[in-house]
């Protein structure tokens, strides 16, 4: 199926111009890689093709015929399916029920679903899953599945429905290296069958490995297209320079060099005072099931501890318990020698614990409020020697807005945040800038002792990613400890002084030397196939 976007523009309601007159062809029998930095318009283009969004101008043509999708259902019925970065399944339904709902949407199942047809469908889907080389219990409720399985279910669901065109928007973000390989294989097979694949990614190794055609978007326009995967470093550099513009790309390359050098320097520090001590911690998940099971953990001053593991094995619950957003069932937690097992989040924050959550928009900022207010709320409520923004007017302690503004502008400059104005709402910033703002907000204090960073670079482009990683490295050099939870193995390997692997609520492996880790072994531990070594 040949998909052509002709002169497509998209202006969002808030005035963001996501696409400007984009004309591009997606030919069948290829893996079309869509590249670009954050906010370049990749996801917008994908959503327009998938019928999620309507273009402001321009048309989509399929096999030469103009189509006007009113909803994703229209696109699905034409055989165009999309998988998003974050799973979008019905959490309270089982896997097979999700598959059936999908069949209903496609119009393949008519009328009321019967139990007998559910069983038949379950068997068929199970067989299909096995044929694809995966093992999934199709009768499990989706919420009880780890994130990688959810993502696999979503991809397989589309394949099972015999979609003609697959749009994968960073669809391997939660998978282990082993699983990602399998998905690569599957996608390549589909390509060979003559189907159309649109692959959106940030990861350079993915581009090298599977892409047949590179399409680079920059600021809403197509700036580069090429047939075939980039095979040499120069070709890759060229793509990067198209993504960021020549000047920015140069900076980016330098920062990569710098960060590797610093990693080499930083290894070897250890056995400083204990910053965080966790003993026999048990924490329950949202559905009352035990998610963290008798976990022990020590973090020393100034080290970066990486926590690897497939999402859904208790990392989120562990992090929430550490920062004080989730109740601890049993066990103890000490922060810099003080028992904080029962203290609420705001007290831990005041004691120097900083949380950089994965769900930034939900947990780290108030998107409707201004940049200034977001910074002020934090700065005014955590004690610090350097930040005091009150002035006395007639004996009343009022907020010194002028001082706040000046300080905010200075800090945002230091952290390299681009923003339209200090009173603009957070939602007017791009994802990368929001993350930098979150960092600027929480790190501009002099009493930080522990940073809990959860997926700190998820969804960020190459450049911002390396900025964030450099910053974390910098912090640990200043003696601040970091607990880094990430599903990006390469990030963990690049940054961690010590790497822990979490599986089923426990720490099953500790690597003290992160320079020589066998990836296959690591994957096995993440999948629960390695021998238990305890922690």
């Amino acid at each position: 199926m040949l998909i052509v976007a002709e002169g497509v523009s998209k202006v969002y309601e808030d005035g963001v111009v996501a696409l400007k007159d984009v004309t591009v062809e997606f030919k069948p029998g290829r893996i079309n890689c869509l590249l670009g930095e954050n906010g370049a318009g990749k996801s917008t283009l994908a959503k327009i093709v998938a019928g999620v969004l309507e273009p402001t101008r321009g048309v989509i043509k399929i096999n030469g015929r103009e189509v006007h999708f009113k909803s994703p259902r229209d696109a699905l019925r034409m055989g165009i399916g999309i998988v998003y970065q974050y799973p979008s399944l019905f959490e309270d339904l089982t896997v097979v029920e999700n598959v059936m709902v999908f069949s209903h949407i496609l119009g393949k199942l008519k009328g009321i679903a019967k139990w007998s047809s559910l069983e038949k469908e379950a068997r068929r889907f199970e067989e299909f899953v096995r044929a694809m080389g995966f093992r999934i219990d199709v009768y499990r409720k989706v919420y009880s599945l780890p994130a990688n399985i959810k993502q696999i279910v979503e991809i397989l669901r589309l394949l099972y429905a015999q979609m003609n065109t697959l749009i994968l928007d960073e669809a391997t973000s939660m998978l282990t290296p082993l699983e990602t390989e399998k998905i690569y294989e599957t996608v390549c097979r589909l390509r060979d069958e003559g189907r159309n694949v649109i692959w959106i990614t940030h990861k350079p190794q993915e581009v090298r490995q599977i892409c047949d055609r590179v399409v680079v978007l920059r600021r809403g326009r197509i700036v580069y297209t090429a047939e075939g995967a980039p095979s040499t470093a120069e070709e890759m550099d060229k793509i990067i320079s198209y993504m960021f513009g020549a000047e920015e790309a140069e900076k980016f390359k330098q920062s990569i060099l710098m960060s590797t050098r610093q990693v080499a320097e930083a290894r070897g520090l250890q056995q400083a005072p204990e910053v965080l001590v966790i003993k026999n911690l048990r924490v329950r998940g949202d559905y009352g099931d035990l998610k963290v099971k008798d976990l022990n953990l020590v973090i020393w001053k100034g080290e970066i501890v990486g926590l690897a593991g497939i999402a859904g094995h208790g990392q989120r619950e562990l992090v929430e318990a550490i920062v004080g957003l989730r109740k601890v069932e049993t066990g103890e937690m000490h922060l810099a020698g003080v028992d904080v097992t029962k203290s609420p989040a705001q007290e831990r924050s005041k004691a120097g614990l900083v949380y950089i959550p994965a769900e930034r928009l939900k947990k780290a900022v108030a998107i409707e409020l201004s940049i200034l207010l977001n910074l002020a709320a934090h700065w005014l409520n955590v004690p610090s020697n350097t930040i005091k923004f009150t002035k006395k007017v007639a004996g009343m302690p009022l907020v010194d807005y002028e001082g706040l503004k000046a300080h905010a502008v200075e800090v945002l400059g230091k952290f390299n945040v681009s923003y339209p104005g200090i009173t603009a709402p957070i939602k007017s910033l791009s994802g990368g800038n929001i993350q930098k703002l979150v960092l600027a907000k929480v790190l501009e204090r002099d009493n930080v002792i522990l940073v809990v960073a959860e997926e700190p670079t998820a969804g960020l482009d190459f450049k911002t990613t390396s900025e964030v990683r450099l910053l974390l490295r910098e912090l640990s050099k200043r003696g601040i400890s970091i607990l880094l939870v990430s599903s990006d193995i390469y990030e963990l390997l690049e940054l961690s002084d010590r790497l822990l692997v979490m599986y089923d609520g426990r720490i099953v492996k500790e690597y003290r030397d992160t320079a020589s880790i066998d990836m296959l072994e690591l994957s096995k531990y993440m999948l629960g196939l390695g021998a238990r070594s305890g922690s």
Binding site: E13, H378, M396
Partner: protein, 360 residues
């Protein structure tokens, strides 16, 4: 900086420029419609309303007086609403405040002049506060939705008042459900002769200023706005949200209590069953109509009070049902929500059309 953004500002000012006239027009139009339906020429009805609402200094003062409970309660509600705490219980807090005020005034009536007044006013505030802290406590301690508990407590307060006014606190000299008149030592002195503009009215006006400062210039203001916009982020920013639930609920209860003290000691000088003309509910709409800003709430309360007084007089003269203003005030929240949405759509699409010509 990647995504290009058409710089068009949907400024609050532009939004209000559409929103306020639209909302006022809707209110006036429905008032006119109500008059027409009741068989009164709408021009006459409206002009009479306007005259008796704001036409002379005396009428204006009377409307100001009427607006006191409205603006005190609605300004009080701005605190919890900004923090995302839903206090629907101002009506109950008002009744409890009234009962406590009257009880204190009667109990200490023998003391010399300002003491019973001061004591009764303060205990009225305290009564409202404590009553508002019940749903706050239930929310913080057990996670029970304060919207339901505060609403339900209104009925408890109403029927408790009804019991007291017909039983232990009943005026033995009349047949009505009311307390004996407030003792002279507890009545707020009148400041403008031949009106009911009294000392507590002045306190109420001072509260507008105090709330304005508290809600715009302080760290507290930033904290509750942040909490209202994102409670999780607020916690991680060192904000004790449980404490703020207590504080904001307490403030709104205290102001509801002060409102009832003003009515009991300054205006009616007794507690009767109809002492609150649904003030606690009407104020919810007014708080939003005023844009959750104390000055805005004050202005719309004055507007509403004028409409209440004007229509009351108009219905008296034209012999039409007295509930005209109730119908109208019931519609206000609907109008506010609807016109805000409409204004947002209009302004946004106008601004976007203006700039999107640049693209392609």
């Amino acid at each position: 900086m990647v995504a290009e953004k058409l710089s068009f500002a949907v400024s609050g000012r532009a939004l209000n420029a559409v929103f306020i006239p639209l909302c006022v027009a809707l209110i006036v139009a429905s008032l006119a419609l109500i008059f027409e339906i009741s068989g009164v020429n709408w021009v006459h009805g409206l002009s009479l309303t306007l005259y008796y609402g704001y036409g002379t200094t005396a009428f204006l003062l009377e409307s100001l007086l009427r607006s006191v409970p409205l603006f005190l309660i609605s300004i009080g509600l701005i605190f919890p609403f900004t923090a995302g705490v839903w206090n629907i219980g101002a009506e109950g807090q008002f009744y409890i405040g009234a009962i406590v005020t009257a009880g204190t005034a009667l109990a200490f009536s023998s003391l010399p002049f300002p003491i019973p007044l001061v004591l009764a006013t303060l205990s009225g505030c305290l009564g409202g506060t404590l009553y508002a802290l019940i749903p706050a406590f239930l929310r913080v301690k057990y996670g029970i939705n304060e919207l339901l508990t505060s609403l339900m407590l209104n009925f408890v307060a109403y029927h408790l008042t009804s019991y007291l006014l017909l039983g232990p606190m009943k005026n033995p000299l009349t047949q009505f459900a009311e307390t004996p008149p407030m003792p002279e030592t507890a009545v707020a002195p009148v400041l403008v002769p031949s009106t009911r503009f009294n000392a507590l009215t002045v306190i109420a006006l001072i509260m507008v200023l105090a709330s304005y400062i508290a809600l715009t210039k302080t760290r507290f203001a930033i904290s509750i706005r942040y909490m209202g916009a994102n409670p999780v982020a607020a916690q991680c920013s060192g904000i004790d949200i449980n404490r703020l639930v207590y504080i904001t609920m307490g403030i709104s209860g205290a102001l509801a209590g002060l409102a009832s003290a003003h009515e009991v000691l300054g205006v009616i000088r007794a507690v009767r069953m109809g002492i609150s003309m649904n003030y606690g509910y009407v104020a919810i709409g007014l708080a939003y109509f005023g844009g959750l800003h104390p000055v805005g709430a004050f202005a719309v309360s004055l507007l509403a009070a004028g409409v209440i007084n004007g229509t009351l007089m108009a219905s008296f003269f034209y012999n039409i049902p007295i509930g005209v203003y109730e119908v109208l005030l019931g519609m206000v929240p609907l109008y506010v929500v609807a016109s805000r949405k409409i204004a947002d759509k209009i302004v946004r699409s106008l601004a976007l059309r203006q700039v999107s010509g640049v693209v392609t």
